[in-house]
């Protein structure tokens, strides 16, 4: 059997991806109106609070992707990859928004117009030292995306252990697994062939 392939995993990934003001409205997010609290470490226990927290992280992920893409530091192929992942993150946010409406909880505010310094402050609170304002090359851009995906993994891991609605737990697990896949693909893009970077641990728990 031939063990060698003319197309490496790196090439396969590159080819495959080618296809490819914080005010909360509504009635039921009383303790989440204050942005410093919405991003803080206070434990969220109800299903509504947990979904709110994961959606807030999704909105952060979306904002970071948008800034990284806008930085122009990604190659064309990796730009396509980031665009695709961003579109999936937006799907996640839409689905979570729908769940929040069902629960009678207002959605967290978009971070689309947040300043770079505000985003950096949130990143620091999530143990991400990288800055959206200081992306100087593609490696740094990919590193930031990898870490923000880990933040998302961590948010879902936290929520899944606490959600009382098993349907919401399943939806969270489906998204968490997708975020883990994003992290792996981004790691392969940054460090091709380094499987120990791409899939480093047997139990995905994220960060933050």
């Amino acid at each position: 059997m031939s063990g060698s392939h003319p197309v490496t995993r790196r090439h396969a990934l590159a080819r495959a991806i080618g296809v490819g003001g914080l005010v909360v409205g509504g009635s039921a997010a009383p303790q989440l109106v204050d942005p410093s609290r919405s991003w803080g470490a206070a434990p969220a226990e109800t299903d509504g609070q947990l979904v709110y927290a994961t959606m807030a992280v999704e909105l952060l992920v979306i904002a970071i992707y948008e800034r990284v893409i806008a930085s122009g530091k990604l190659s064309a192929a990796h730009g396509v990859l980031a665009d695709r992942m961003l579109s999936y993150e937006r799907v996640h946010a839409r689905v979570l928004g729908s769940e929040l409406r069902t629960l009678g909880v207002a959605e967290p505010p978009s971070l689309g117009h947040a300043s770079s310094s505000s985003l950096d402050a949130i990143l620091v609170s999530k143990q991400v030292p990288e800055s959206v304002a200081q992306i100087s090359n593609e490696s740094e851009a990919l590193a930031l995306l990898i870490k923000i995906e880990e933040v998302a993994e961590g948010a879902y891991y936290h929520a899944i252990a606490r959600l009382t609605d098993s349907r919401l737990a399943l939806r969270s697990a489906q998204i968490m697994a997708a975020e883990a896949q994003h992290r792996t693909i981004l790691s392969e893009a940054r460090n091709p062939g380094h499987i120990d970077f791409a899939v480093p641990v047997a139990f995905v728990q994220g960060r933050g």
Partner: protein, 195 residues
């Protein structure tokens, strides 16, 4: 049919399974920030029995994946070989964790079978397809298990394993030159997708 070659098992495999057989809870306590929470209730109950059955079904799939990786990894080369070697170790960790959870729940972990029906993979691509299919089977099973287990803290452990298997899937898909990402959610089913 492929039986896992006895000599092919890495030391880590023997150590992990040996530890699991002894009811080791080292990995249980090492798994994340929620290790202080009880993973399963200690009082036998119907719910507990149902959880044990679910965990044993997952363990059976892990054993099968371990057998496939053990038998198939030597047939791979290059980046696929490196990935399979890494994934085998991670599957062993999954099995050990499930074993510990079942023991903690006062259940009886199922034993590895003497052999597993794995087909007759002959080529590099055959082996990759086999492994990717088994990863998909595991993903499907974990997606069914996450909402079904009674204890929320056990759910998070299963989700952590599910996410890791989803990472395996994406790498194997890339090795097969399939589209790595198939949608916004990781869903049950074969999800082979297009090239």
């Amino acid at each position: 049919m492929v039986s896992p070659p006895a000599g092919a098992a890495p030391n880590t495999r023997r150590a992990l399974l040996g530890g699991a057989a002894a009811g080791a809870v080292v990995l249980l306590s090492a798994c994340g920030s929620h290790a202080h929470q009880p993973v399963v209730v200690s009082t036998p109950s119907e719910r507990n029995a149902a959880d044990i059955e679910i965990l044993n079904q997952l363990l059976d799939l892990e054993y099968k994946a371990i057998a496939a990786y053990t038998a198939g990894t030597p047939l791979l080369s290059g980046s696929a070989h490196d990935a399979a070697k890494q994934f085998l170790v991670q599957e062993l960790y999954h099995a050990s964790k499930l074993y510990s959870m079942i023991m903690t729940a006062h259940g009886t972990p199922i034993k590895q079978r003497a052999n597993y029906q794995l087909g007759s993979p002959r080529t590099h691509e055959d082996v990759l397809r086999l492994l990717q299919g088994l990863e998909r089977a595991q993903i499907t099973a974990y997606l069914a298990a996450v909402p079904a287990v009674s204890l929320a803290s056990a759910r998070s452990v299963l989700a952590a394993i599910l996410a890791n298997d989803a990472q395996h899937d994406v790498i194997l898909r890339a090795e097969l030159r399939l589209r790595p990402l198939t949608g916004a959610f990781v869903l049950a089913g074969p999800q082979r997708g297009s090239r």
